[in-house]
Amino acid sequence: MKALSIQNLRKTYKGGFEALKGIHLEVEEGDFFALLGPNGAGKSTTIGIISSLVNKTSGSVSVFGYDLDTQLVDLKRQIGLVPQEFNFNQFETVRQIVVNQAGYYGVPRHVAHERAEHYLKQLGLWDKRNNAARMLSGGMKRRLMIARALLHEPKLLILDEPTAGVDIELRRSMWDYLEEINKQGITIILTTHYLEEAESLCRNIAIIDHGEIVENTSIKRLLATLNRETFILDLSGEGEQAVKPELEGFTMRQIDDHTIEVDVVKSQGLNKVFDQLSAQQIKVLSMRNKANRLEELFVDLVERGRSNKSAAGA
């Protein structure tokens, strides 16, 4: 069954701005799906329409077979939304926020209290249950929004930039938690600016730009199309003197006395780089990708889409 099916979805805001230009998107049940795109591409509008916070102009949306136009109540029950902005009452306590949210979904109060304890403990917020939400740190507020979205036990969890402003340790613990609930059967749709996050968590991906889907495939397949990668190598020569290697057949840039940046085309492989450096008595101390692999593809896809448009316009 499709967790989400979007057909020819369009949104034109008052004033004429066309945020979505007829997008098609399908997400399978159980998937961990990334929706990526630059700022203003249409991600939040898409999420807003699915969660009925934004009125669509035309097109159809269904969640687990429930149609947005004709079965809105059933559709809403399937979805848990973690929005980008903090949108809870800052003066309510952590427990009030989650228990009330469950109540809006018809969960009886005593059940809501039991579930609140369960999810707040899982997300490390139980000790803060009687604190006003405004007293929480940024990371705790993010986790509070996840707990709130889970309390009515949705089948589809939509997270709009869930780890924005969260430190790396907390971000990784949130990733673990999301992976865990995905394994338990909850379908997850994620938008993020941390492409490393999408690469490590998600199985499938759609890239949206200027209100159009420019790519929709599996992460594996997308990464396989990456033809060139840039590596940064930290080098060591003899003594403290500067290392100035020469690499035949590769584009190379010297960053400082002991660091170089090398562009490697997939067909070339890295062995040739190491062979040439060894021949020049240069040791490679460490090596890393200049950018996340998905980031390189993302930038490439978005730029390609824009240059195609300018060419068509010219």
């Binding site: 805001y13 807003g48 969660s51 009925s52 916070l53 934004v54 009125n55 809105l72 109540v73 059933d74 809403k76 029950r77 979805i79 939304l81 929005p83 902005e85 949108n87 809870f88 009452n89 800052q90 003066f91 309510e92 009030q96 009330n100 949210q101 109540g103 809006y104 979904y105 018809g106 969960v107 009886p108 109060r109 709130r148 009515h152």
Partner: protein, 258 residues
């Protein structure tokens, strides 16, 4: 199933609303007690003794129902207006919009909050009035209760409509300042409308608050400047009109959905 779900959602909104105004009781429950005490002292004790009787009752006794009604009107209005606008402003209204809560339940929950605050304030003001009036009698309990509920519902709905249109906090104080307060003062709280000369009495009878104050006074003292059936009919008609307006606005997502 649907009805029990709606009941849970309604109870949740109502509890949330009551928790809100009880949490800030110094701002919501204390000021009406102080304001009304001042009205009783100044208009009742100091000025009232020189006025004598009004509609066959001592002036202090005459103004008690009007002052209670004034508190009910302002508190039900401001409770819903400020709470709904704050929810819009902080965007926590989205918590309800993403959930399968029906528009009628949202309206009923907010109105229930306004009604609860208005009733608590009414009790506080009535208790305060005991200090100034020797004998507070109730002549028609049914009409009194009905008028309180209908009036509070009406002004809760009005506050909700105001909050839907409001874009800033200033917008929710414009209506109380420029419309509600003048209409309340001219609605027969402090005087009998029959004292007004000719055309002014006719004009005053177009003020809907006059009917609410008089219906409530009738419940207390058994005296009224207007026909009670007509008064209740006016309040019911306004309730229906305001509910339809509020329902249509929320259903269309005016001010809350893009």
């Amino acid at each position: 199933m649907a009805s029990s779900f709606n009941l849970v959602a309604l109870k949740t909104i109502w509890i949330k609303e009551c928790t809100r105004f009880l949490r800030i009781w110094v701002q919501t429950l204390v000021p009406p007690a102080i304001t009304m005490t001042l009205y009783f002292i100044i208009f009742g004790s100091i000025v009232g003794e020189r006025i004598g009787d009004m509609s066959g009752r001592p002036y202090m006794e005459f103004i008690v129902p009007g002052l209670i009604m004034m508190s009910i009107i302002t508190n039900s209005y401001s409770n819903v207006a400020s709470s709904f606008f704050s929810a819009k402003f902080q965007r926590n209204i989205e918590e309800m919009l993403v959930a399968p809560v029906s528009t009628s339940v949202i309206i009923a929950g907010y109105v229930g909050g306004g009604l609860a605050r208005a009733l608590i304030v009414a009790v506080i003001v009535t208790v305060v009035s005991f200090y100034f009036v020797d004998n507070v009698s109730i002549n028609h309990l049914g009409i009194l209760v009905l008028t309180v509920i209908l009036t509070s519902t009406l002004f809760s709905l009005a506050g909700l409509i105001n909050a839907v249109y409001a874009k800033t906090f200033d917008d929710i104080s414009i209506v109380p300042t420029f419309v509600l307060t003048p209409l309340t003062y001219l609605g027969g709280v402090f005087f009998s409308v029959t004292l007004l000369p000719g055309v002014w009495e006719t004009i005053a009878r177009f003020n809907p608050i006059l009917y609410m104050v008089n219906a409530f006074r009738y419940g207390f003292l058994g005296v009224s400047d207007v026909n009670i059936s007509a008064a209740l009919a006016v309040i019911v008609v306004f309730n229906v009109a305001f509910f339809i307006t509020a329902y249509t606005l929320l259903q269309r997502g005016v001010g809350i959905r893009s």
